[in-house]
């Protein structure tokens, strides 16, 4: 049984005068300890799927199951201990007036977990930040350091699943490399399951075992990592996406 199962998911936003269907009948399954990638252009609905899993987008059809259980309508504390999300923009996803210490200890307080101090220090060390960073504010950190804090925050409750929404697209190439290395190390150490969104095929190829290509809210094609490098895609859209990334090929 897959850890994340999404069946026939649709998400519909009510915009002025009309409804916008952001996700149309998408199904996917991610096994435990697998890393699954969603790619597609802006507005293809890839981030909306992650948000729908967390209850941040209005689901209009289909089901989402985590370890066989349908997610409850109000996600609740049990859900947040299993599933956590890292957002794209580290400048927007950390509270600007909370110290790093407060950001990291809040989930512990909500869930009534003990040893706050030790856990916060360990979380910072795990993502490669000095413990003294606890007493800083987000504006005193660089973009890469903030994204490390965002990853540390997502891991505070020791979830099995990390939803990664373009976790490195706001970062410099060198910092992106460090952050991707960090995510891969954490996944290996903790046996995490990743569902990752990116528009960069090279990042997805580096991080993911299987890939779902999306366009206009619908699933276009699912392919294993090996098929990507060999350009063995069946649909024209996936091929055009690949062609636009030709400069990201090994040896290019």
């Amino acid at each position: 049984m897959a850890l994340i199962e999404i069946d026939d998911l649709s998400v519909t936003f009510a915009a002025r005068h009309r409804e916008v269907q952001a996700v149309r009948n998408v199904s996917l399954a991610v096994d435990a300890r697998e890393s699954f990638g969603l790619v597609g252009e802006s507005g293809s609905g890839k981030s909306t799927i992650l948000r729908a899993i967390c209850g941040l987008a209005p689901i209009s059809g289909g089901t989402i199951r985590i370890a066989g259980q349908p997610v409850p309508t109000r996600r609740g504390p049990g859900f947040s201990r299993r599933v956590q999300m890292v957002f794209q923009d580290p400048y927007a996803s950390l509270h600007p007036r909370h110290t790093i210490d407060r950001t990291l200890s809040e989930p512990l307080a909500i869930h009534g977990l003990p040893d706050t101090d030790a856990r916060v220090v360990r979380a910072l060390t795990d993502v490669g930040l000095p413990p003294a960073f606890r007493f800083r504010f987000p504006h005193q950190l660089s973009g890469g350091q903030r994204q490390r804090v965002a990853i540390a925050r997502a891991l505070m409750l020791e979830p099995e699943i990390l939803l990664l929404d373009e976790p490195t697209s706001a970062l410099d190439a060198s910092v992106q490399a460090e952050t991707l290395n960090l995510l891969n190390r954490l996944r290996a150490e903790r046996g995490l399951t990743f569902l990752m969104v990116s528009h960069d095929l090279a990042v997805i190829d580096h991080m993911c075992d299987r890939i779902l290509v999306m366009q206009h809210g619908a699933a276009v094609e699912e392919l294993p990592r090996e098929a990507l490098a060999k350009a063995q895609m069946k649909t024209d859209y996936a091929r055009s996406l690949f062609a636009a990334s030709a400069d990201r090929l090994l040896g290019a």
């Binding site: 252009e41 802006s42 190439a173």
Partner: protein, 276 residues
């Protein structure tokens, strides 16, 4: 023909912790071509672009031996002269549509504001021209986007709206600060071909500021690589992948590649001699 020449540009900020030199002695000349400036955050590439428009606010200060745009001395120009240049002759596309569009004004209204105020067009003409500008940047449903609020647009759409807005007055020089970093590859290719077309057909000069080396290599004619406020390497864009400077090499090598190994990506060595 030289459109813009900059000699020994310095941008400094007086902060509580002392003087921070964001740009230290940058010189370059630009014709009707596509000049790329690459570097990491904090390398001074954005401040260089802003300094050309004199958009550095106190406590920031600009110093240069010479900064001349189309025969006009930018260092000696008054604020009124600068205002006449900004937008109309030198336009700038900023990095983040979230912070650069007015959040409480519909997109259409923002696009039409300049057309009505600056060019004195009627409401109907301005509307038509704005729709045309949106269509020119490949927006699928311009009528809907005209009515939308900025928060209703995706990053890619917002970025295209800003490019459309900057291109309406037909500038001679466009400074594009990470104009496509919020976009995905297919849209990126479209936006670049729009910019490319403008450089070719209108003879516009372009300063393309980006952290994406592959993109700059493919799209620009010439590239300046910046590190800590200095130009460390200048080379033709087509040779960027064969760059020699260890910093440029480091930036190239840390990129993941499709079909590449799953081993950890090489990190940039910031302790080497060149980094001091």
């Amino acid at each position: 023909m030289t459109l813009l020449s900059v000699e020994n540009l310095h941008v400094t900020f007086d902060t509580e912790a002392g003087v921070v030199e964001a740009v230290r002695g940058v010189s370059f000349a630009l014709g009707r071509e596509r000049l790329g400036i690459v570097g990491e955050s904090g390398s001074g590439k954005t401040q260089t672009g802003r300094a050309v428009l004199r958009l550095i606010r106190p406590p920031g200060r600009i110093r240069a031996d010479r900064m001349v745009f189309d025969g006009q001395d930018l260092m000696a120009a008054g604020e009124r002269d600068m205002r006449a240049l900004r937008g109309r002759r030198i336009a700038m596309v900023m990095q983040d549509p979230k912070y650069s569009l007015n959040p409480v004004m519909r997109v259409g209204h923002q696009l039409m504001e300049g057309l009505r105020q600056r060019d004195g067009l009627s409401r109907r003409d301005a509307h038509a021209k704005a729709v045309e500008a949106l269509a020119a940047v490949q927006i699928r449903d311009p009528a809907r986007v005209m009515e939308a609020w900025p928060h209703e647009l995706s990053g890619g759409m917002g970025q295209r709206v800003m490019i459309a807005m900057m291109l309406i007055p037909n500038p001679d020089l466009l400074i594009a600060d990470e104009p496509t970093s919020a976009l995905d590859v297919t849209v990126q290719a479209e936006v670049l071909s729009i910019l490319d077309n403008l450089v070719r057909t209108r003879g516009m000069g372009l300063i393309f500021i980006s952290h994406d080396l592959r993109l700059v290599a493919r799209f620009c004619d010439r590239v300046l690589v910046m590190f800590k406020g200095r130009i460390v390497e200048e080379l033709p864009a087509r040779n960027l992948m064969q760059a020699q400077h260890p910093y440029t090499r480091g930036l190239l090598d840390c990129l993941p590649r499709i079909g590449g190994p799953r081993t950890p990506l090489p990190a940039l060595d910031r302790t080497a001699d060149w980094a001091r």
